[in-house]
């Protein structure tokens, strides 16, 4: 059985940074606890013997599903940008990112 690594509060902070969200101190504690509970389930799954079993990447048992290179109509800009909170000259306005 593999040893399960536990998640620290620092890692939760990093994940929050990746997801561009801010967490309060209570939330950090809460999520650290919850993440570790979730990982517990994986520890149970990890106990299964999978040596020699090929990994499953796709459950549909399909391959080579393609579409032809034919243009289909796009949405109107007004409709596409309905969910954008900030717009300017038809663009979506975002904070500066490099």
């Amino acid at each position: 059985m593999k040893k399960m690594v536990s998640i620290s509060e620092k890692e939760v902070e990093h994940i929050a940074w990746l997801a561009k969200i801010t967490l309060s101190e209570e939330e950090k504690k809460l999520f650290t606890e919850q993440f570790n509970t979730i990982l517990e389930y994986f520890r149970i799954i990890d106990e299964l013997e999978t040596e020699g079993t090929p990994p499953t990447f796709n459950v549909q048992n399909l391959e080579n599903v393609f579409r032809e290179d034919i243009v289909e109509p796009s949405l109107s800009r007004e409709y596409s940008l309905k969910n954008a909170s900030k717009k300017e000259k038809g663009y979506v306005k975002a904070s500066r990112i490099i």
Binding site: H14, W17, L18, A19, K20, P55, F57, N58, Q60, L62, E63, N64, V65, F66, R67, E68, D69, I70, V71, E72, S74, L75, S76, R77, S80, L81, E88, K89, G90, Y91, V92, K93, A94, S95, R96, I97, I98
Partner: protein, 497 residues
């Protein structure tokens, strides 16, 4: 800042330093596709209004399902075969997760070579010619992926107050071609990219002339130091500049005893410097996992054989044909075939004027020099094969001198006027009348008594006088006739003395 720029000037001439190691990740749009990689939105986004080529799939709306463009796989196979890569029997799409606004889905569909991922092709090589020597640049892998959105900044990215996003480009089919770290200089990188572009253009899958159709990231290290990745090199022209800057920056750090950090830097093409991104993201933060909405791509041997048959003549084969058929030097053939438009131009000219050597000489010397000087490609210049051939014919029939032709060529490039028009407008007709040249020669001899005196004992003085005559006629005098007449007149004078 000024210090950094000085160091660029110092090092920009550097070539083939043995301690420089460069690897490239080249992103080429499959511009022969009419639609995006996973949806039917038109791929013709250039010049269009922002955010007008979008649908629920490329916007990543819940419930939408991507379906791969059949032709994108054919394109990728053609490129793999041309680069001698091995095509995977079964390849998979993966999600690369990140939270930048350049992908509406918050992930990019790509391929991966770890965590069970299999890209569409692996291995391969491209042969390049640098300083008359052949070199193989190995390819690590080729993968299909989506292009992210275009981000618009006001001026430099460093100072722009915010970012404007146009998602029309998001989802366009890209082929990422990753090299092994086999490149030794910015020049080799440029030559490699030129060759790669020529191959893709011969295949007809990607048109490098289109703005943003070919971009690249570069990994570079010096003296076995840390590897620095430069992102956002928006065109092949910029690569050499970005690499030169980075080599200079790392050398300057080394010489001051400072350690080069392993990091990702951004090429700012406005300020012409690389900027540290100070990213806290590591590879595993992208949490790659198999794209559950797409099925694997399986490619049979029969399919590979079928695609092999439609591969057109590639630059290397064309080079050999040029040497054998047109009897031009291998080096010249290499230069001409390094750009499909250039090679096509050459062959168009030959259809109109069968002396290949003369055509190639004009292209290799004056035409290339002017294109280089103006920093444009042959497709951007206004010169056509008809122009060049007409100009050569004007020299042949004695209408203009070769020297004048050299000044006519840049005029054609700038204006697109025909050589005859330019010659007439500028009064460049060759002076071939003996009487006219004799009159002018008399004037030269009268104005240069010292040289006339010296001419009796010094050959150089004769050449000086001929030069003066050519100068007087702004190069229009027939040089042989000018030579002959000056010598005759000098002889006559020395006799009469």
């Amino acid at each position: 800042m000024s210090k950094k720029i000085t160091s660029v000037v110092v090092f920009s001439k550097e070539e083939f330093a043995e301690d420089v190691v460069i690897g490239l990740e080249v992103h080429c749009q499959l511009t022969n596709l009419r639609t995006k990689l996973f949806c039917g939105c038109s791929s013709e986004y250039r010049g269009e209004q922002p955010n007008t080529h979008l649908c629920p799939i490329c916007l990543g709306m819940p419930g939408s399902l991507p379906v791969a463009n059949r032709k994108s796989v054919d394109d990728a196979m053609m490129v793999a075969l041309a680069l001698k890569s091995e095509i995977a029997e079964r390849s998979l799409f993966f999600r690369k997760n990140y939270y930048y606004p350049d992908m509406p889905k918050n992930f990019q569909i790509t391929q991966y070579d770890q965590a069970g991922g299999i890209p569409i092709a692996s291995g391969g090589e491209v042969s390049i010619q640098v300083n008359h020597e052949n070199k193989q640049i190995r390819i690590r892998r080729i993968q299909l992926e989506e292009d992210p959105a275009k981000l618009v900044h006001l001026g430099s990215i460093d100072t722009s107050p915010y970012t404007l996003v146009d998602y029309n480009r998001a989802g366009i089919a890209l082929l990422e071609i990753i090299t092994e770290p086999d490149l030794k200089s910015s020049k080799e990188a440029r030559v490699f990219l030129q060759k790669l572009r020529s191959i893709l253009e011969h295949l007809g899958v990607s048109d490098g002339k289109l703005e943003g159709a070919m971009r690249c990231d570069a990994n570079i290290s010096i003296k076995k130091g840390n590897r620095v990745e430069i992102k956002n090199i928006s065109s092949f022209k910029e690569v050499e500049k970005a690499l030169n800057f980075e080599i200079a920056r790392q050398r300057a750090m080394n010489s001051r005893g400072l350690k080069v950090e392993m990091e990702t830097r951004h090429w700012d093409d406005v300020k012409r410097v690389t900027i540290s991104l100070r990213t806290k993201e590591a590879e595993h933060d992208y949490r790659y996992f198999p794209e559950p909405d797409l099925v694997p791509v399986e490619i049979s041997k029969e399919k590979i054989a079928k695609i092999s048959q439609i591969i057109p003549e590639l630059p290397d084969a064309r080079l050999d044909r040029f040497v054998k058929l047109y009897k031009i030097p291998s080096y010249d053939a290499g230069v001409l075939t390094s750009d499909k438009a250039m090679a096509d131009f050459f062959e168009e000219c030959i259809k109109l004027y069968p002396d290949a050597k003369t055509i190639s000489n004009w292209m290799m010397t004056d035409l290339l020099r002017w294109l280089h000087e103006k920093d444009i490609e042959i497709k951007e210049a206004k010169v056509t094969p008809q122009h060049l051939v007409e100009m050569i014919k004007l020299i042949d029939d004695g209408t203009i001198s070769g020297k004048i032709a050299k000044s006519v060529l840049p005029e054609i490039l700038n204006t697109g006027k025909t050589p005859s028009e330019i010659v007439t407008e500028k009064g460049l007709l060759r002076i071939a009348s003996r009487k006219d040249i004799e009159l002018l020669a008399d004037r030269v001899l009268i104005e240069n008594p010292k040289a006339v005196q010296d001419a009796a004992v010094d050959e150089k003085a004769i050449h000086y006088l001929i030069g003066q005559l050519m100068k007087l006629t702004k190069g229009k005098a027939d040089p042989q006739l000018a030579n002959q007449i000056i010598k005759e007149k000098l002889k006559k004078q020395s006799k009469s003395n």
